[in-house]
Symmetry: C2
Subunit: 314 residues, 2 copies
């Protein structure tokens, strides 16, 4: 717990999984003197108030950001421009404006023109989440041991970057700084293409005529169910990610497809050594991710086993 | 705990993740009077003995199956034929011979000709596992609440099928019966293609020049790490699966690729409604899998969160 909060007044625009986790982390770690919350959906805002996530609640985003030292926008990336336009005129000089979007070049393109001079705009992306959405889904340690990537524009004041970094470190995250362009390529690989492939295989399985939906569900423990987790992520958020990171996604997807065709050919021609070589190499990458502290080494993600596994009734 | 064991003498050929889990489940539930274990790898057999998994240990598979009432072969599917040839002459009349392979038509093709008349050959596949291998990786409740698929040939005695079913139910599994051909198509969808895609994306990420391996590992919590689990599965086992279920795998892969190209086109042309429709549909399939008792509803598979997450040192 910090003696003096890093931020006097924090404004959170959007209070879903990410926004509500920031609110909880800020509260748990005493990072903000006052937390102002805004959501464009009345029911979501009411729920945030019921959960006691903040100190004040505002239907109007412009009102929420008044006098705020740090504003974090956590909305689907397609809505970033509209939010920036709504809050721009109400920001106090010297305020830091940041976001939590999964795409950065598009967010810069949308938000920067709407923000006044004298405001520090620092795009950010905490690489953390679950497959659930909404204010109830958040929790205080979502960001612990995870990376928050900042993509400041050239010329951004070092002091502002350091203040935002201190806030995220207070939430448990580690900080990495890179360009928005590089961010979008890296995340296309580590997040966007994995989601696209997961959505696709789940869709393909659902569409097959020769295998029933019941069979797909019953025998999903063979591997399929792993994909359904990220394919259960928020549809609006992910639609926007793909529409707003088109170039990087199409580029990495091209590589994926090329590699998949090579693998398909190896299967067709019975090239066992090629398969064995790839399957051995991929094993060591998981080992590296575990060593990097980004994955559990418990078998099966530590999923519960035994009679009560997956049965909400028990 | 059964009063009288279902099986007098059980022989396990192969004592890796699956074989050793069968041994543990049989012991924990009193399913067999004697458990004879065989492995072609001396170190694995010695380890099984150290772990006390059985009652007798045999380098020679033929010796292990002598007088056995039930023989379960748990080896990479490419080795099925050789094992059947080795044990065939030593089987007692009336013995049940089964396996645990992930492919069934090829196993039938390999094993059936090597087995003598008067033996009940019932191919089986318990749809359960983790990404770890070897006798240490097994555990007694691996099969609990999971499906074991039997693919008996036409004309197989009902009593033998019932006895094998009782054994698997004793291990905690539910029984499903289908043809070997249908099994191979269903598992291509729910297991083989998911593994292939996971291996492929992990390989693609590893090969990119513009994104470093360190970046892939650091930012893998965006979704990528989910894929690395099944891409860390046993390379020999999975090489054999793809070589031995070629037709069904190529058929389902063709559908997957076709759907992926449609999705790619939607992204290129900015068809947000198409994306949203798919992403909403896939969400309900996960819900169905949770309701079918085949998945946990805990966020993020119930992975540990917070400081100790994934750090073996803590």
């Amino acid at each position: 717990m910090a003696d003096t909060p890093i931020i006097d007044r924090l404004a959170l625009i959007g209070i879903g999984l990410i926004g509500s986790s920031i609110a909880r982390a800020a509260k748990a770690n005493g990072l903000a003197g006052h937390i102002a919350i805004s959501s464009r959906t009345a029911a979501t805002l009411a729920r945030a108030e019921e959960l006691g996530l903040g100190d004040s609640y505002h239907e109007d985003a412009g009102e929420a950001v008044k006098d705020a030292d740090l504003v974090i926008v956590s909305v689907p990336v397609g809505a970033s421009g509209a939010v920036a336009a709504a809050i721009g005129p109400h920001l106090k000089p010297g305020a830091i404006v940041s976001d939590a979007g999964s795409v950065k070049t598009s967010v810069v393109r949308q938000m920067a023109p709407e923000l006044p001079d004298g405001v520090h705009f620092i795009p950010a992306h905490p690489v953390a989440g679950t497959e659930y959405s909404g204010p109830d889904a958040g929790f205080a340690d979502l960001f612990e041991n995870r990376w928050c990537i900042l993509t400041p524009l050239p010329g951004t004041e070092a002091q502002a970057i350091e203040r935002l970094s201190a806030f995220w470190r207070g939430c448990g995250a580690d900080i990495e700084i890179m360009s928005a362009e590089h961010h979008d390529l890296v995340l296309a690989v580590t997040s966007h293409i994995p989601h696209l492939i997961a959505y696709n295989i789940v869709g393909t399985a659902d569409d097959l005529e020769a295998v029933t939906e019941t069979e797909v569900m019953k025998f999903s423990a063979g591997g399929f169910r792993d994909f359904t987790r990220i394919a259960a992520s928020d549809p609006t958020m992910w639609r926007d990610v793909f529409l707003h990171n088109k170039e990087a996604v199409l580029e990495v997807l091209g590589r994926f497809t090329e590699d998949l065709f090579a693998l398909q050919r190896s299967i067709r021609w019975g090239e066992g050594d090629e398969l064995f070589e790839l399957f051995s190499r991929t094993r060591s990458i998981r080992r590296g991710i575990i060593e990097a502290g980004q994955e559990t080494e418990a078998p099966d993600f530590g999923r519960p086993h035994g009679k009560s596994d997956g049965d909400p009734a028990e």
